[in-house]
Amino acid sequence: MAGMSESTSTQMGMHTESLTGRDIKTKFTLENEGGFAYHFARDVDFNRRAEIDCAELEPTEINRRIRELMDSGHGSIVIRNPGAKHSLIVGILNRMNIVVEGSLGYFGCGLLDGPTVRVSGRVGWSFGENMMAGVCVVEENAGSTFGAALRGGDLVCRGSVGSRTGIDQKGGSIIVGGDTGAFSGFMMQRGRIVVCGNAGKNLGDSMYDGTIYVGGDIRDLGVDAIQAELTDLDRGWLTRKLNMYELLPAQGVDHFTKIVAGKQLWSYDNLEPTEKKLVL
């Protein structure tokens, strides 16, 4: 990890320990472009657009059609009449645009790596679970375990989300325009959660690391979650990120409360650095 980024993320309270061992982050170069995509990734054209009407299709068939369209080079797909069906748009490991005109059920947009998805309706439980990279924006409300085990990318919900938002989060950013339920950030390990509204009870319970920002009221904090000082770096990041998704409050971000791990529950310090890396 480069010195600058380590310093910045440490100052923002994202983590305090120095990671050692092999760095998984590499600098992007045009020569090494192929190293940043899966060998089986489709060469899609963002200007080629197709639609899928899901009204009469089963989830398996819908996901198969998405892949067939990717195979034929379509880089922009519109999903019509999703009818809150479960497990749609999962395992897409390509850069592409997907627009969902309607609502998704449970486990929507899981295991993504790269696409940009916009959902005009609401989503059910476990939306964006294990997403590795990309952007997903939900225009209405979301169910519980929004962004569970998120590893990277931006997961945005303009409405309110259910309980256990960002449970076991390992990276990336979860941004909520409204409120979030109980146990948000439960056992989170990395990344950031931003809640513009209120947060339910046990916020950040047993979190190992990472940062939670809340614009409204916090019912109570979970075990080992503590309040930290909002720094200029936090303000800058929050302003930039919320602006990106048109969620920046009129009064700015000074009123946000920052929550980090108290790190009294840790037992990793007994581990060797390489073991620590494996655990995290």
């Binding site: 809150a84 309706g121 059910g124 339910g200």
Partner: protein, 311 residues
């Protein structure tokens, strides 16, 4: 896992049988073992509808003797009703083992229920002025067809698709549960109650009866006792969150109300749609979409949330 659903119309009775069937069929994947409905038709203050069974569906596989036994049990129930002065206005037999009687009776409901249940195989599924409770093995479409529910008109109802985990696959363990012996109260539940035996023994000591080993039955009895003590439905629901341990989301209906409660961990799902003319709740949005296929604005109730709607 189990799936639960509820509907309440704010503008009068509609074809709730058809809509509840569609909702529960959409939840079939959450529990294919049995399906149950508790729906509220036009209340008749001087009349009751009694739903009861005299055998389990699986008993029919036990040879030819059971058919003779069922006839004898039906006759025995008839004798009990006559002895108690019950006027049977109508008798339907949608299946060989489950019956529906429309009765006129001004006596003690508990005594009526107890005496019917003294008949071998006898179990009251519900007694109510407005409530009709139907449950059987199979999915919603099959149960609805067998019992002719598609034409049922009513103001509100709840339903359940069951995945059997801790008790048997039979009608006795299927939901909804009627709150014996209280008129017009039924419950469906998704979850697990961890202080079930503690609370059951406490209620049994107070004279309450349980017919199954299903923890969901506790919620029906518990609520009925609270209402009998003078609590409102909302007060009972709030109290249950403190007194009942475990993970649960449950729906409960009275003659003119539909209520929901979600436990302190919010571990069991519920999606809520509220509009001026109706309220729909279900474990998954696909069930609500089965009756409202257009885009709708829904939300997830939070932990410890309690809501009550009037029909």
């Amino acid at each position: 896992m189990c799936g639960i659903a509820g509907l309440i119309y704010r503008d009068g009775a509609r074809k709730i049988g058809e809509e509840m069937t569609a909702m529960l069929q959409a939840l079939r994947h959450r529990g294919p073992d049995s399906t149950g409905f508790a729906m509220y038709g036009a209340p008749g203050p001087s009349e009751y509808v009694m739903r009861y069974k005299v055998a389990e569906k699986e008993d029919l596989d036990g040879g030819t003797r059971i058919h003779r036994a069922i006839k004898e049990r039906k006759a025995a129930v008839g004798a009990v009703l006559e002895e108690l002065g019950v006027n049977v206005l109508e008798l339907d037999e949608p299946t060989e083992y489950a019956l529906r009687s429309r009765i006129a009776f001004d006596g003690d409901l508990k005594r009526l229920a107890d005496q019917v249940e003294e008949v071998e195989g006898g179990e009251i599924l519900s007694i109510g002025n407005a409530l009709e409770l139907v449950k059987d093995l199979g999915d919603a479409a099959a149960v609805s067809e067998t019992y002719g529910l598609s034409t049922f008109e009513g103001t509100h109802g709840i339903g359940h698709t069951r995945m059997a985990t801790e008790s048997d696959v039979d009608i006795r363990s299927a939901h909804p549960y009627w709150a014996y012996p209280y008129n017009d109260i039924a419950v469906v539940h998704n979850g697990q109650i961890t202080n079930y035996w503690l609370m059951r023994r406490q209620l049994e000591r107070e004279g309450q009866r349980f017919v199954s080993h299903c923890d969901s039955e506790l919620l029906a009895v518990y609520t009925a006792v609270n209402l009998e003590k003078g609590m409102t439905l909302e007060e009972s629901l709030r109290r249950s969150i403190d007194e009942i341990d475990g993970v649960f989301t449950y729906l409960i209906t009275t003659r003119n109300e539909l209520g929901m409660a979600k436990d302190t961990m919010a571990a069991k799902p519920m999606v809520l749609y509220e509009a001026d003319d109706m309220v729909a709740l279900a474990s998954e949005e696909v069930a609500i979409r089965a009756v409202l296929p257009h885009e709708i604005d829904t939300s997830d109730p939070y932990d410890e949330e309690v809501r009550v709607w009037q029909a």
